[in-house]
Amino acid sequence: MSHPHQAWSELAAGYSLGSLDADERATFEMHLAGCKDCQAEVDSYRDVVGSIGLGAPVVPPPPHLRARILAETKSVRALNPPTQFQRLLPWLVAAAAMTVAIASLLMYASERSRRELAESAGAAAATQLMHARKQVAQQDSMLAAILAPDAESARLVAQGRPPSVRLFLNRRRNMVVLSARDLAPAAAGRTYQLWGIADGQPVSMGTFNTSADGQATVVLPLATDARFTHSAITDEPAGGSPQPTTTPFIAGAWQ
């Protein structure tokens, strides 16, 4: 008789390979977000999946392909993102490149913990109340933004730990709805800033903060029509910064 959790870890191989059926993949992804053992299991298969293609029958490419590639890339500048962002990008674009396994899963780089959240519980009650009032007033337009057929969503999910952030982008109505959970409020004099990343360059999408319960539902105006491939959140001085001054602690790929 198998241990209950074994039923989950048995899905890790198929998940890494991208061969789980849709419903199984959905439930496994939800489990994966909160299970370190399964994350380790999925990680252990990553290089295996990366190696399978080495077994393909060897077919040499046509000789002209090399020249074609070198010619095509000549006119394209290699991306050179700002240094401070450089450490984040491996997680972001690695996630995009490994579409099979982890298309929308991200890395939670910070050391924040539930304990921090509990300690700051007293600090932001007023913010929370104001937030709730605003929420009721905005409920309808937000739901409309989320449910509109041209809304894109990005799930920024911490790997195995809080916080979790969802983004809903509605280009037609020029708005981004951000929904955060289990994210301790930024320290005094600081704020969270959301960035959209296009061609490796971060563009500010606005600032926000969470209430003491770690939640936020915020509507941010969409000031630009750049096509973002990813988004990330950093901790910044109050008022925000023109470019990120800290390493993003949560990020994700747009689906």
Binding site: L20, S51, T99, G200
Partner: protein, 186 residues
Amino acid sequence: MTESDWALIERMSRGDERALAHVYDRFGTLAYSIAYHILNDAGDAEDIVAEVFMQAWTSAASFDPARAKVAGWIAMMTRSRSLDRVRARNRRSRVVTALVESSAQPSQSAPSPEVAAEESDLRARVASCLAELVPEQRQALELAYYGGLSHSEIAEALGQPLGTVKTRIRSAMGKLRESLGAYLLI
């Protein structure tokens, strides 16, 4: 001493076109072989490889050697784009049929045991591991990898029970992980 794969990517990220040429020389055949195995069309395979190396060129700065090997990175991009093209061109059924046939045959690329024992090359190791798999396990794995098929789709394509397919893929992946484990740490 030759440059490590990662060092080449790092040079590429700084706009070094000769590094790109070296990366193509090392991994171009791998990419083309995978694309061709999936698409069975020289023109499509060529387009895919061009796209893959363009993507590698523009995203080199974000490559993290702690998370992937360069070969795996190239392979995954190639597989992903190839499967996307199969879907986009509505060629799925044709591709699946071809894969069912080819994967039913004995693994062609396995070197002799003597050669495999001497080779420290990862490629030879992978070929050996695949050849050592029970044929039904290898077939299910190849349909998943090269066809992008789900468990249900594989079961239907092969006329096998779903549970059997799941077990075979799990077993194949487990064996590969065990066999390749030490090599992948390099």
